[in-house]
C-alpha cells in the first residue's frame, strides 16, 4: 500500500534558512537588521529553534577585547592556525577573529547576559590552546554567560529573529535541494506533524543544519545531529570538505555522552584505568593529564583497547575513571560545580567519594559544506553555486582546519552568520525562477522505497551497529585495514536498511520514517568520513592514522569529496589559504607550516 506522495503547497520567500540554530538565526537577524521586512522562512527539525544544539554549549565564546592590555587579535589568529594543525584558511581566520568583539557587543546590546565581575567588567576564562604572545602564557579571551553561553546566544538570535518577523516552520526536515540550471532556488521540506511535502522557493537558501555527531556511538551532540546538511549536499551532486576531520573530546561522561570539561583535569583530576593506575604518565610523562585533547583521547582509547578499561553494564560502554576524590571540597563546590553536578544527576555518583566514568566522545565536525569567506557554497575550488550559502558547524570555510579550539565554534557561528547575511542582502534584488518541474520527485521516490521495504529487522539496531562500527574503526585511531572493514560494514548496513520494513506507513509524526531517512544520511556521512580518512595517509589534528602517525605536508590541502553512488566517491583538492603568511607582514613567520607542539 503506497500512498501517492505529492507537493502539498509551494511557498515563496526571500531567504530560506535550513536549520534554526545559532548560525542560521544569526544570519536571519543580520538580514532583518539591514533590510527590515525581508521575508525569511526558517526551518528546523526540532520543536522550536530554542531546542537546537547551540542551546547546550556551555564554555563560552572567544573574542579579543580591543581594550585588553595584553591580548591581541594576532595572538588569537596564531592559536587558531596552530590549533588547526596548519590547515585552516588564513583569510577566514583573519576575518572571523577581527570581527569577534563587535559581535559580542552586538549580542550584549540585544539581551545577552555575559557574566561580569563586581566592578562591571566582563569576566573572561581561559581555554586550551588560547595563548598570548604566541604560546607564551594562557589567554583570558573567552566571554561566557555562566554555564550556559550557548543558551544565551540561542535566546538572543532566536528573539531577534522573532522580532524581525521570521516565519518558523518547526519539526520539519529539508529533504532535497532545488537546483535550476546552475542556481539554487530553494528546497523541499517534509513537515512531520502534517505529513506533507512543501516546496519553498527562495532567492537565497542557507544551510545551517549543524553537525553529524550521531555517526558515532558516544557523542556530546544532540539527537538531531545526523549530518543531514552534508547528506543533502552530497545528493545534490555537490562536495563536502574534509569530512575526516572529526574532533573527539577525551572525557565524555559515560552514558549520555555529556561533556566533562577539561577543567576537571586542570584542577587536578587524575585518569585511572581498571587497576586504578594513573596511566597518563606513560603517555605524557611531563604534561600528564594536561596534555592536549587528542593525545589524552588516544591514551584513554589505548587503555580501553588493551583491556584496561571498565565496562558500564547499564550503557554497555567501556570507559576509564577520572578520580576527583582527592580534591578539596572548595574545588568541588566552587571550581567545578556544574560538571560535578552532571555526575550526580546523570549517573548518581558523588565525585567527592566516587570514581567517575569517562571516555573519548565524538564532539565536533570540523569539515562540512565548503564555502568562501561569505558563506557562499562552492561546487569546486573555483566556482560557487549561486543562491546557496552554508554557515555554522555544517559548513567549512575553513576556520578550524583539522582541530577546533574550544570556544571558537560559537565565535564562528555568529560571525559567519552575519557575513553570510550581509552577502545575502546583495542577492535580494534578483528574480528567482520557479521551482523545477520535478521538484520533490527524488524525495518521493526515496520515501516510497522506505514504505515498500518488507524485511523484518530493526532500524534502531542498524543505527547502533553503524555507530559501533564507526567508533571502533574510524574513531580516535584509524588504520587502512580498519577503514576498509568499515566500508564493507557500511555497505552491508545500508543493504539491510534498504530492506527493513517501517513500523508504520503513516506519514504523520512517524518517528520510524524520519529515523529511516536519517539513517541514510548517517550512512552517507559515515562513508565520506571513512573515504576521506582513508585517502589522508597522514595524521593531522583530530585525524589520527596508526599506520601514518606523523603529519605529512604532501597532504597540505583540503579534500573535497563528491559522492557518486553509495560507497563511490570522487576526490578533489582545495588549496589552503596562506594569505597571512604570504602578506609578509609583522609576525608572518608564525603563520608558516609550524609544529603543533604544546
Amino acid at each position: 500500500m503506497t500512498q501517492k506522495l505529492k507537493i502539498s503547497s509551494t511557498l515563496r520567500c526571500d531567504v530560506l534558512i535550513i536549520g534554526a540554530g545559532g548560525a542560521g538565526l544569526r544570519c536571519a537577524s543580520a538580514v532583518l537588521e539591514k533590510k527590515p521586512g525581508t521575508h525569511i522562512v526558517a526551518v528546523t527539525k526540532v520543536a522550536s529553534p530554542q531546542k537546537s544544539h547551540t542551546q547546550t554549549a556551555q564554555g563560552g565564546m572567544a573574542a579579543v577585547d580591543p581594550r585588553d592590555p595584553i591580548d591581541k587579535p594576532i595572538y588569537h589568529m596564531f592559536d587558531t592556525w596552530k590549533g588547526s594543525d596548519c590547515i585552516a584558511d588564513q583569510n577566514i581566520i583573519k576575518k572571523i577573529v577581527e570581527a569577534g568583539w563587535e559581535q559580542a557587543v552586538w549580542m550584549e546590546n540585544r539581551g545577552m547576559h555575559f557574566t561580569r565581575m563586581e566592578d562591571g567588567k566582563l569576566s573572561k576564562r581561559t581555554f586550551g590552546g588560547h595563548t598570548v604572545n604566541f604560546g607564551e602564557s594562557s589567554a583570558f579571551r573567552c566571554v561566557f554567560e555562566a554555564d550556559r553561553t550557548g543558551k544565551g546566544i540561542m535566546d538572543n538570535v532566536w528573539g531577534e529573529s522573532i522580532k524581525g518577523g521570521t516565519t518558523f516552520i518547526n519539526q520539519a526536515v529539508v529533504t532535497e535541494l532545488l537546483i535550476k540550471g546552475d542556481r539554487c532556488v530553494g528546497a523541499v521540506i517534509f513537515k512531520q506533524k502534517e505529513g506533507e511535502f512543501v516546496s519553498i522557493v527562495a532567492k537565497a537558501t542557507v544551510f545551517a543544519t549543524g553537525g553529524n555527531g550521531q555517526v558515532f556511538k558516544v557523542t556530546t551532540n544532540c539527537r538531531q545531529n545526523t549530518g543531514d546538511g552534508n547528506a543533502i549536499i552530497l545528493k545534490a551532486g555537490l562536495p563536502v570538505m574534509d569530512p575526516e576531520a572529526i574532533q573527539f573530546h577525551p572525557t565524555g561522561i559515560v552514558g549520555p555522552g555529556i561533556l566533562a570539561s577539561e577543567t576537571l583535569r586542570s584542577v587536578g583530576g587524575i585518569l585511572r584505568n581498571k587497576e586504578l593506575e594513573p596511566f597518563m604518565e606513560h603517555y605524557a610523562p611531563k604534561m600528564k593529564e594536561l596534555a592536549p585533547r587528542d593525545l589524552v583521547a588516544r591514551a584513554i582509547e589505548t587503555e580501553i583497547r588493551e583491556g584496561r578499561g571498565i565496562l558500564n553494564p547499564d550503557h554497555n560502554i567501556e570507559h576509564v575513571w577520572i578520580d576527583l576524590r582527592h580534591l578539596p571540597d572548595y574545588v568541588h563546590d566552587v571550581e567545578i560545580p556544574e560538571v560535578s553536578g552532571f555526575f550526580k544527576k546523570f549517573i548518581n555518583l558523588d565525585p567527592k567519594k566516587d570514581l567517575c566514568p569517562v571516555r573519548p566522545s565524538n564532539h565536533y565536525q570540523m569539515g562540512g559544506i565548503p564555502t568562501n569567506e561569505n558563506g557562499e557554497v562552492q561546487k569546486n575550488p573555483r566556482e560557487m553555486v549561486p543562491g546557496l550559502f552554508a554557515v555554522g558547524e555544517c559548513a567549512a570555510a575553513s576556520f578550524h582546519g583539522f582541530n577546533r579550539l574550544g570556544t571558537n565554534s560559537l565565535l564562528e557561528l555568529i560571525t559567519m552568520g552575519k557575513f553570510a547575511g550581509e552577502k545575502i542582502i546583495d542577492t535580494l534584488g534578483e528574480d528567482v525562477p520557479d521551482a523545477p518541474e520535478d521538484a520533490g520527485e527524488r524525495s518521493f521516490s526515496l520515501f516510497s522505497r522506505f514504505m515498500e521495504a518488507g524485511a523484518k529487522d530493526n532500524l534502531g539496531k542498524i543505527r547502533e551497529e553503524m555507530r559501533n562500527l564507526m567508533t571502533e574503526k574510524v574513531g580516535v585511531f584509524r588504520t587502512e585495514q580498519g577503514m576498509n572493514d568499515a566500508i564493507e560494514g557500511l555497505r552491508e548496513l545500508r543493504e539491510r536498511a534498504d530492506k527493513t520494513v517501517l513500523a508504520s506507513q503513516s506519514l504523520i509524526m512517524n518517528q520510524d520514517l524520519i529515523q529511516r531517512w536519517e539513517l541514510n544520511n548517517l550512512l552517507d556521512n559515515a562513508m565520506v568520513i571513512t573515504k576521506g580518512a582513508l585517502n589522508r595517509k597522514e595524521s593531522r589534528g583530530g585525524h589520527f592514522r596508526d599506520d601514518f602517525p606523523d603529519r605529512d605536508d604532501t597532504f597540505h590541502y583540503h579534500t573535497l569529496v563528491h559522492k557518486t553512488e553509495f560507497g563511490d566517491v570522487h576526490l578533489e583538492k582545495r588549496p589552503v589559504d596562506m594569505s597571512l603568511y604570504e602578506a609578509k607582514g609583522e609576525h608572518y613567520e608564525k603563520f608558516g607550516i609550524i609544529e603543533r607542539k604544546y
Binding site: V46, A47, S48, Q50, K51, S52, H53, Q55, T56, A104, V105, E108, N109, R110, G111, H113, F114, R116, E118, G120, L122, A146, R148, K151, G152, D155, N156, W158, G159, I162, K163, N170, Q171, K193, C222, R223, Q224, G255, P256, I258, N312, P313, D314, H315, K345, F346, I347, N348, N458, G460, K461, E464, L502, A503, S504, I508, M509, N510, Q511, D512
Partner: protein
Amino acid sequence: MYNEIYDITLKVKRYDPEAKRTWVQDYNLKAGRILRFTDLFRRINNELDPSLAWNSSCEHAQCGTCAVQINGKPLLACELLVENAVAQFGTSVFKVEPITIAPVVRDLIVDLEQAYDRVHKAKPYIIDGAKKSQAQAESQILPRDLERYVEATRCINCFCCATACISSHKGFLGPNAVMASIVRLMDPREQAREERLDLLYSEEGIYRCHTSKACSFVCPKEIDVAHFIALAKEGKFKT
C-alpha cells in the same frame, strides 16, 4: 553497586492521530540503574516497538524537549534515572503520559509549537533596547542588578510548570510565558515597559494565577517561577 537490574513496567499513553485512538500500552523492560527514561524509550524502539513516538533533543536537561508526565508529575525524561524514579515514586510501574499543555500529535509528542505561541506572545526579546551612550559600547549589567532575575534566565521552556499549573489551560499565558516577559521588565536594557505591563495585566496575564506555586515545585531548572509572578502581582514593576 554496579550490577543492579530493575524490572520496570512503563504504562504509556498512546495516541494514533489517524485512527484518533487513545490507549495505554504496557512495556516491560529490564533496566540498569542509571539508564534514563529517554534511554528506556529508545530501548523500547530498538527492542520492542519501533512505533512508539517520543521527543528529545539534547538529552542532558538543557533544551526542554523531552518533558513528559511520569505518574502524574511533569518532568524531563532525559534526567530521570531508573534508580531515582523507583526511589522517588516508590514503585517500578510508571504511568507515562504526554504533557497537557498542547494537543498531542502522536503518543508522547505534543504540538510544542502551539505551546510556544504563548511564549512568542510574551515577546522573548528586548523590544526596545536602551540607547547606548557610545555606539560601540556593550550594555553593562552589574552583577547585583542581574542577581535579581538571573534565575529566570535559566528557563528552557520545557512547559513542565505550565503543565502543573491549574490555571494554565484556558486564557492564561502560563507561568513560563509570563515569566519571559517579567524577566525583561527586570532587565535594565528594556525600555518598552508599558507594553510589557499591558500584557502582564491583561486578561491572559498574571491575574489568572492563583499563587499555588505548583510551577516552582516542578521546575526542573529549580526556578522559583511563582516568586517572579508574585513580584508582578505586588505591582513591583509599575512606574
